[in-house]
């Protein structure tokens, strides 16, 4: 038997005293104990909101338009959350779908939602909000002085926009509110600010922006603001009187004034002020108090509306092609002189590449990493005076095409197998980790945008498509 379609009345006129937001995890697909959702739903949240992505793991995901998290892990979390939202008749809001929030990322999650709805006999209305941008349209903003750089990047030129494989704009809460007001029960947003997802329903229901944005920042990493980040997510209650409270979903974890206040430090450049599309959250006057041993109340969060509404852009482009090779050294005669050995390898490789491939050093690039010695910090390593027991030697080659990158790595192969130190009188054999030693990485990507657009309206850069209820 098909269940009745769930109805949600997003009535923005009826005043409410408070709005509760459940965030089950820092990211969709990270996993959470199902018991924490059962407990969270018993606290009667008004919305389930969570993030589906981030730029955290580097430019590949946006550049290639590929998700980071395994489909099976995303599907597992989605199934639990869709069933919980449907049973309670509350909306589910997911942003930055598919890691980078490209259009294909939104469709990837939407495809899983449709399949789960079919399998579970659910019929919630799904909205997709697309955030991807055309370089040609952004050029009009650039030409009219409505596209600005954020530090540390400088002014933009049109060819940088055109070189990007994908460009997304980060939406605020407004497109999500628009989708909910038009009857969406599941909102699958492209790139969005982490906070906009949790902020949408409280702001739609008239909660004050200061505590709403502050609470949304605290919940965005799930259990990170608790004493046990692995125990599951959190529930924030934003109160119309101008404060919010926060508690973990797991009864065994706690929020303390320190764990909540300290979360404003996490991954932020400035721990007191945070820019959103429509203004700036200022928590410099916030106070944190324990209501009991696991719930914290926060007062004094302020929000200043900006004179100009802006959406931040993210863009990535191909920056050459890479081939990787990995060998290892255990012989103390070589590890004891590892810097000399590495310098000898660099010199020999440059000269052999010139001799065989007729490439000068400015026609390709390589990084030789000595893991176990200074592989992580390189020249910033403060403690590289003693000889390492073993060294992993990673060679990463970048060239304008894959064949050239691999050719350079293959020229390096005999050196990474047999190169002695300058004063050894015989050829050692070193420990390759794999056969073949070379791994083609494909295109390498780089982030090239850290800019904002003066948007004509909060929804003008985004396309909202609302589907009819699934046919079950």
């Amino acid at each position: 038997m098909s269940p009745e379609p769930v109805t949600i009345a997003p009535d923005t006129t009826a005043p409410v005293a408070s709005v509760r937001v459940l965030t089950p995890a820092g990211v969709l697909g990270a996993g959470f104990p199902e018991s924490t959702i059962e407990r969270g739903m018993s606290l009667r949240p008004d919305v389930i909101a969570l993030d589906g992505g981030s730029t955290d793991s580097g430019p590949y995901y946006l550049g290639a338009g590929q998700p980071k998290i395994a489909a099976a892990a995303v599907r597992r979390d989605l199934r639990v959350l869709l069933k919980a939202a449907a049973a309670a008749g509350i909306p589910l809001v997911i942003g930055s779908c598919g890691t980078s929030g490209t259009d294909s990322g939104v469709d990837w999650v939407a495809g899983m939602v449709a399949a789960i709805q079919q399998e579970e006999g659910l019929s919630m209305r799904v909205a997709r909000i697309y955030a991807e941008q055309e370089a040609s349209e952004l050029k009009q903003y650039l030409d009219t002085g409505r596209l600005h750089a954020l530090p540390p990047l400088g002014e933009l030129t049109a060819d940088v926009l055109e070189s990007c494989t994908h460009i997304v704009a980060m939406m605020g809460h407004e497109p999500i509110v628009a989708a909910l007001e038009n009857g969406a029960q599941v909102v699958l947003a492209g790139r969005a600010t982490d906070t906009a997802l949790a902020a949408a329903v409280p702001l739609m229901k008239g909660m004050p922006p200061g505590p709403t944005w502050h609470a949304s920042k605290i919940v965005e990493c799930g259990g990170q603001a608790t004493t046990d980040p692995r125990a599951g997510g959190v529930l924030a209650t934003i109160d119309a009187a101008g404060f919010f409270t926060i508690e973990p979903l797991s009864p065994d974890a706690a929020c303390t004034p320190t764990s909540v206040a300290a979360h404003m430090l996490y991954e932020t450049v400035d721990p007191f002020r945070m820019r959103e599309p429509d203004g700036t959250l200022d928590v410099s006057g916030a106070s944190y108090a324990a209501l009991d041993d696991r719930i914290v109340r926060v007062d004094g969060s302020r929000f200043e509306t900006a004179a100009q509404y802006t959406n931040k852009l993210e863009g990535a482009r191909v920056a050459g092609y890479e081939t990787l090779s990995f060998s290892a050294i255990r012989d103390p005669l070589i590890t004891g002189a590892i810097d000399e050995w590495a310098a000898f390898l660099r010199r020999t490789l440059v000269s052999r590449v010139e001799q065989t491939l007729a490439l000068s050093p400015d026609e390709y690039a390589f990084d030789l990493r000595l893991y176990g010695h200074n592989g992580v910090l390189d020249e910033l390593e403060p403690d590289s005076d003693h000889a390492p027991r073993e060294v992993g030697v990673m060679l990463l080659v970048n060239a304008h095409d894959q064949a050239t990158a691999t050719a350079v790595a293959k020229i390096a192969n005999p050196l990474m197998l047999h190169l002695p130190t300058p004063d050894m009188t015989y050829l050692p054999s070193l420990a390759f980790a794999t056969s073949p030693a070379e791994v083609e990485r494909g295109p390498a990507y780089e982030f090239v945008l850290n800019h904002v657009v003066d948007s004509p309206s909060p929804t003008s850069l985004f396309r909202i498509e609302i589907e009819e209820a699934a046919d079950v």
Binding site: P151, E267, D367, V376, D378, L380, P382
Partner: protein
């Protein structure tokens, strides 16, 4: 390495990317006394951080937060995230030079020596 380091004053030192173009790090000090030493401007300032991480001191931001006994430092990433020579994608291991810095006025001396 018997000299007391900034890391010795803390229960955690961490670093992390803050978006693709910035890195941020925090010293979570044991108590007010440890915080007072770590936060001392004669020991740890923009110049010391600039030398330690080879970045322009004018772009270094330092936040001293006595209510949490935390010193937080942010600066633009010298190597863009994911580029050929970026060896720490999440900048999650870059707190170590800071943690190994001698505490108090010694920080300035060690920074100058490098």
């Amino acid at each position: 390495m018997s000299e007391r380091t900034l890391g010795d004053l803390t229960h955690e030192v961490r670093s992390k990317n803050a978006g693709p173009f910035w890195v941020t790090m925090e010293l979570f000090c044991h108590d007010e006394e440890a915080y007072r030493i770590a936060a001392e401007e004669s020991g740890l300032d923009e110049q010391v951080v600039g030398r330690l991480y080879r970045v322009d001191p004018a772009q270094v931001l330092i936040f001293r937060i006595p209510s949490l006994n935390v010193v937080k430092i942010s600066f633009p990433r010298p190597l863009s995230q994911g580029s050929l020579r970026d060896r720490d994608m999440h900048a999650g291991q870059h707190h170590v030079p800071l943690a190994l810095l001698p505490a108090g006025r010694g920080g300035r001396g060690a920074g100058s020596a490098s």
